[in-house]
Amino acid sequence: MHSKKVRIITVFAAFTCLLWIFGLGWTVKDYLIGAAHSAYSPPAADESAAQTNELKIIALGDSLTRGTGDIEGKGYVGYVTDQLKKEGLDVSLINLGIKGLTSERLAEQIKEKEIKRQIGQGDIILMTIGGNDLFLGGQTLTNITDDSISKLEEAYLSHLKAILADIRAVNTEATIYLLGLYDPFNEFPEGALTSKTVRGWNSKTMELLAEDSKAVFVPTYDLFQLNVNDYLFTDHFHPNEVGYRLMADRVAALITSGGGPR
């Protein structure tokens, strides 16, 4: 190797060495000794959403929205989207569902800035909520009294009201589809009682939604009423893919016939 070339490389390596020492020193100064806090003001966000023809679906809610129990993990939301795509619509989906979400936590989630922004851009809002409020992981089942149920119901309805108000505050146009509860326990000994409770719960939800002309209550109770075990996942709580498809058929039909493409 040429000695001049080696010299150049050596000198260059020495320079890079200095550069890295400088970087290390800078890190030590910033992180160990402490850096001046620079005040930060966020840049003006461009709120202008790109205008496209696509149908924006925002899915909110609990494990049903997430798709727990579905082999393909799509849930009813995924099947609805699939069906709409098959109809030739240009659909985009944002699924914000979180397992185990209660109406209280959904009301909190919906207050987040970014969630609001996304809801504001949505054309269709799909929601499942309330199942975790009512069933509390199976606890409610063991001691149903009218008193305890009405307490849960009251809290749920007030949260739902807040959720709807928050959605309408950022988006007055979108159609909201709220899927009702079904009774996964109706073949249990206490089935008659839980069914009655779910029916009452659903009718109150429906009444609340009736105040908003663009909010649609989609019943699922009847879908699961007969042969409930055929439509439930092995956890005996969440729907399986057949159950999800039944739910999706109903929602997709509603979207294509009415509140869909405008």
């Binding site: 190797m1 000695s3 080696v6 010299r7 490389i9 050596t10 260059f12 390596a13 020495a14 890079t16 060495c17 550069l19 890295w20 020492i21 400088f22 970087g23 290390l24 020193g25 800078w26 890190t27 030590v28 910033d30 992180y31 160990l32 850096a35 806090h37 620079s38 930060y40 966020p42 840049p43 966000a45 696509e54 924006k56 997430r66 659909v91 985009s92 989906l93 944002i94 699924n95 914000l96 569902g97 979180i98 397992k99 185990g100 987040e112 800035k113 970014e114 969630i115 922004r117 996304q118």
Partner: protein, 323 residues
């Protein structure tokens, strides 16, 4: 002295190790950039948008769904969620598309294992190869002290480490600028997240430019590589065979990667050098492997190991019988 160092550099460059290293970096880089470009495409397809906010929000929701089944990763996940939420709330894109963001992620992920491995290629036979080839006798018959000979070798090592890091940076810049574009050097990066008792502390969060953040990262990567290089250097003096040295060092590095994930209850492990190699994590704000470790602590431990191995290296080399 300068001549001695140059002599060592000539030998190192003559071995063509730098070319091998460059080729390794190039191959890996093209794989990573391709993978990342594909990933961006899939996300765009899934969400039907290129808006980073939508993407980040989706990630947060996905993480929240994983929380209930996360087990021991729960804490880590929670911190990740909070951090991302902070980015979102302040309207800062944590991964502004472009070459700088790619480099940032690449250095962060390679500093612990990949870069040290590259350095080992150079450092591990620095002395042992001279012994196995017999050239060490020629070197020692010169009218310079053994101390100076070893010192010149060590300086050559420091220079090579710096050069490798530079080659690494340069190549990743060229390739990622070609793939993702050159924009985003001034993009803001949030730093100063601290993890205390499993909670994210945001009281000292501040904003730096991405180029500044990258230079700091490279400084840390250089230090990590230098420590590993110094330890390999010591092994090349203690062990006759380069393969044995390489094996020992590899075992240590891999043990470090594994240990970092499972030592949280064995607190005295924090004095092992391999557990402390994750310097980047302090800067990006993820939980340290053992509660109570800080950047200053890790730097001190690594520096102590480096000094110790230097002392051993020189002491052994100056007393050793060479035959």
């Amino acid at each position: 002295m300068i001549n001695l160092v140059q002599n060592e550099m000539t030998k190192l460059l003559g071995k063509r190790r730098f070319i091998i290293i460059s080729v390794i970096i190039l191959v890996l880089l093209s794989m990573f950039t391709y993978a990342q470009a594909r990933q961006a495409e899939t996300i765009k397809e899934r969400l039907g948008t290129v808006d980073w906010r939508t993407e980040l929000q989706q990630k947060i929701v996905d993480w929240q769904n994983r929380l209930s089944s996360a087990g021991q990763w729960r804490e880590q996940l929670q911190i990740q969620i909070e951090q991302s939420q902070y980015y979102l709330d302040h309207d800062i894109n944590p991964s502004e598309p472009g070459a700088p963001t790619f480099i940032r992620g690449f250095v962060e992920n390679s500093a612990e294992l990949f870069l040290p491995l590259l350095i080992m290629i150079i450092a591990v036979d620095l002395v042992s190869s001279e012994r196995s080839m017999g050239t060490i006798k020629l070197l020692l018959t010169r009218p310079v002290s053994r101390f100076h000979i070893l010192l010149s070798k060590y300086i050559a090592l420091i220079l090579s480490v710096s050069l490798v890091i530079f080659i690494f940076g340069l190549l990743s810049y060229i390739i990622s600028a070609f793939m993702f574009g050159n924009q985003g050097w001034a993009a803001p990066v949030l730093t100063g997240f601290k993890v205390e008792g499993g909670e994210l502390n945001i009281s000292e969060v501040r904003l730096v430019s991405q180029w500044q953040y990258i230079i700091q990262q490279f400084g840390l990567a250089w230090f990590i590589s230098l420590v590993v290089g110094t330890l390999s250097f010591m092994l090349s003096i203690l062990m006759r065979s380069s393969a044995a040295g390489m094996g020992t060092m590899l075992a240590c590095l891999i043990a470090g990667a594994i240990l970092s994930n499972m030592v949280s209850s064995w607190t005295s492990a924090k004095y092992l050098f391999m557990v402390n190699l994750g310097l980047m994590n302090y800067v990006s704000g993820t939980a340290p492997p053992i509660e109570g470790m800080t950047l200053g602590f890790s730097l001190a431990v690594l520096a102590a190991w480096m000094l110790g191995s230097l002392v051993v290296s020189f002491a052994v080399f100056m007393r050793k019988d060479i035959y």
